[in-house]
């Protein structure tokens, strides 16, 4: 297997305009490194949704998004990770969404329910449900002080280089 170790990181003040540009760059890099264009599309979708989350809910200051190619036990994975500051209400909202995600065994059914919920409520976790179902990523959240870290990971296959 080719060496699976690389990362790109953007440190930014959350702004909408940066999101589409960052997604396009992530897509281009993944297209170059991964053998499956669908995987590149899934990872780009993930980066976009996670960065929009940061723009929507960040409590200000600097944020970051990292896209990392990892090698674990001979298998390649891509990890997308965002870090940002968040207020207590936002942390609580995220905890609630992740509780629901952890309890929902079927990502597709959970996404379909989130779509219905989105008709009635803002902040229904539609973006995260979409990442899990459409992008087929596993999701995790951690909080340290007022810093929230969201992580999304998927196994990938690397393009063979001659």
């Amino acid at each position: 297997m080719p060496n699976a170790s690389a990362a790109i990181q953007f440190d930014y003040r959350p702004r909408v305009r940066l999101v589409a540009n960052a997604r396009a760059l992530v897509k281009e890099l993944c297209d170059d490194v991964l053998s499956d264009p669908d995987a590149a599309s899934r990872i780009a979708l993930t980066a976009h949704e996670m960065m929009e989350n940061v723009v929507k809910y960040s409590a200000g200051g600097q944020s970051s998004v990292t896209v990392e190619l990892r090698d674990r036990d001979g298998h390649a994975y891509v990890l997308v990770r965002t870090k940002n500051r968040a207020g207590p209400d936002q942390v609580e909202r995220l905890r609630l969404v992740f509780d629901q995600i952890d309890r929902a065994a079927d990502p597709l059914a959970f996404y379909d329910e989130a779509i219905v919920r989105s008709l009635k409520a803002e902040g229904s976790g539609l973006g995260l449900a979409r990442i899990r179902a459409e992008a087929e990523m596993s999701l995790a959240m951690s909080v340290e002080g007022d810093e929230v870290t969201l992580s999304a990971e998927t196994p990938v296959h690397l393009r063979e280089r001659s």
């Binding site: 999101v19 599309s41 976009h48 379909d112 539609l126 973006g127 979409r130 459409e134």
Partner: protein, 125 residues
């Protein structure tokens, strides 16, 4: 055919251009829809819905050849529109047909989710 009255929507790298067809309306959606797009898109879809009803449209076809990305904020707009179509009485209800670009892999996954939300209304080509 009655006069068609739906001007295009062009907003920061995202556009929707509508035209009348023999059995309804065709939409060409292009560009990137992000979290700021719904401010315009929601109103546009309301106007589209009204126009589809006025024309007694049988279907709305959405051409997505150049639709590079739509975030969940835009998906939510489409869900709200489709919910309105779903709630119509049968003779007024119209089909919504997404013509996906097979090279833009996210499209099929996203449109399939919309089809699950509104079966019998949404079709994905």
């Amino acid at each position: 055919m009655k006069d068609f009255a739906l001007p295009p929507m062009v907003k920061d790298g995202f556009s929707v251009v509508a035209s009348a067809t023999s059995d309804g309306i065709s939409l060409k959606v292009s560009g990137n829809g992000d979290m700021e797009t719904p401010a315009s898109l929601a109103g546009y879809l309301k106007a589209l819905h009204a126009e589809a009803l006025r024309l007694s449209a049988k279907q709305v076809v959405i051409e997505c050849e150049d639709l590079y990305f739509m975030s969940s904020a835009c998906v939510k707009c489409l869900v709200t529109w489709l919910d309105g179509v779903q709630k119509l009485e049968d003779p007024k209800r119209y089909a919504v047909r997404f013509r996906a670009n097979p090279n833009l892999h996210w499209q099929r996954r996203s449109f399939e989710a919309l089809r699950r939300f509104a079966p019998g209304i949404v079709y994905v080509d």
